[in-house]
């Protein structure tokens, strides 16, 4: 451990002295031009249709642009990598797993165990959604801290572009609404229009209809918004932090602790994104329609679900 730190510090010294001798020292304090912050969203690579430039609107400009951006390209790379990995692992499934198969099995088993913990055995059928969201977000987030991604024109971290995140969030949204409707039928809509509450009395029914229903409805919209912005803000903000600090700290490897922080944050955010979608699925499955199975086996589980109602 001590030797590794020594070697890293030595390499730093060599880099700084070499830069000083050849006259390539970076500016300090850095100016705006020295800090290479990644774009907030991908830039178009191939233009397919729509406007070439964003409309001059208010603060938020709506850009009617259909094009293949660099973040879409990078997302394709991530998808290709995950697909090839899955294909290689699933090509020859054997009783005694090889190294790759064993690795994939550990991941999938971990995800399944987690899902069973969170929502019981009936949510394991949503493993494809949960696992895909988690693995895609994780691979993208970790791609964000690899060199060159976000620095050259061709590559841009997919999750540091809010369009990608909005797509992921909308996928989860459609999926959990479909799950709720499938499980509870028409009773699912009592989340927003709670007519059965009139059985408790006219006042309760009116309050549920006028106040609780709209709040529930807007919380659905805010779920999409928070899912999108949380992932984007964390990953893109992390890229900014890395860019600013590496310009500010002068010595190259001093930024390593922040790199590990970003590694950790990338994992946590991918996990949180997938887990929130799973939680919304669980909430949709156990919606107000299913009042007959009040006595759930997991008593502590109910407290967790209550917390999720906060947003």
């Amino acid at each position: 451990m001590r030797q590794v730190i020594g070697i890293v510090l030595l390499l730093n010294a060599v880099a700084v002295i070499g830069a000083a001798l050849t006259g390539n020292l970076p500016n300090w304090p850095p100016t705006q031009a020295d800090i290479h912050v990644a774009e907030q969203a991908g830039t178009p690579l191939i233009h397919l249709g729509g406007d070439e430039h964003p409309s001059e609107g208010g603060v938020i400009s709506i850009w009617n642009d259909i094009s293949i951006s660099n973040s879409i390209f990078t997302a394709w790379l991530v998808m290709a990598a995950l697909t090839v990995l899955g294909f290689l692992a699933g090509r020859a499934v054997s009783e005694v797993p090889g190294r790759l198969q064993g690795f994939i099995e550990v991941i999938v088993q971990g995800l399944v165990d987690f899902m069973k913990d969170a929502g019981g055995p009936q949510v394991v059928r949503y493993l494809p959604l949960f696992g895909t969201l988690f693995l895609f977000a994780l691979a993208s987030n970790w791609l964000g801290i690899t060199p060159l991604v976000g620095q050259i024109e061709l590559l841009h971290t997919p999750t540091a572009d809010y369009h990608t995140n909005l797509g992921l969030a909308l996928t989860g949204f459609v999926w959990y609404q479909a799950a709720g409707i499938r499980q509870n039928g028409l009773g699912y809509f009592t989340r927003w229009v709670n007519f059965p509450a009139f059985k408790e009395g006219p006042l309760v029914g009116a309050v549920m209809l006028i106040f609780v229903g709209p709040i529930e409805f807007f919380s659905e919209l805010f779920r999409i918004l928070t899912l999108t912005l949380r992932l984007w803000g964390n990953i893109w903000g992390g890229e900014i932090v890395l860019a600013v600090l590496s310009a500010l700290l002068f010595v190259p490897s001093f930024v390593l602790p922040f790199l590990f922080l970003e590694l950790f944050i990338g994992f946590i955010q991918a996990f949180v994104f997938a887990f929130l979608v799973l939680l919304y699925i669980i909430l949709a499955l156990e919606s107000h329609g299913g009042e007959e199975h009040e006595a759930l086996p997991e008593a502590s589980h109910a407290a967790r679900l209550e917390a999720a109602h906060a947003v």
Partner: protein, 74 residues
Amino acid sequence: MSLAWLGAGIAIGFGALGAGLGIGIAGSKVAEATGRNPDAANAIRTNGIIIVVFAESLGIFSFVIAFLLQGKAL
């Protein structure tokens, strides 16, 4: 126009303050609960992450608003 920059600074500052306070309180309670009942550490950790995330998303909102204001000042 430079007032927008001031507004951006205030937005991210107070937003981060609130989110930080919330996460701090939640984190201290999580640590307390884990100390009181170490067997339930896994469940407490998962719940803690979920609750902390909701506080964090408010901080992210203020980041977005600060960013929009900064874009307005340019």
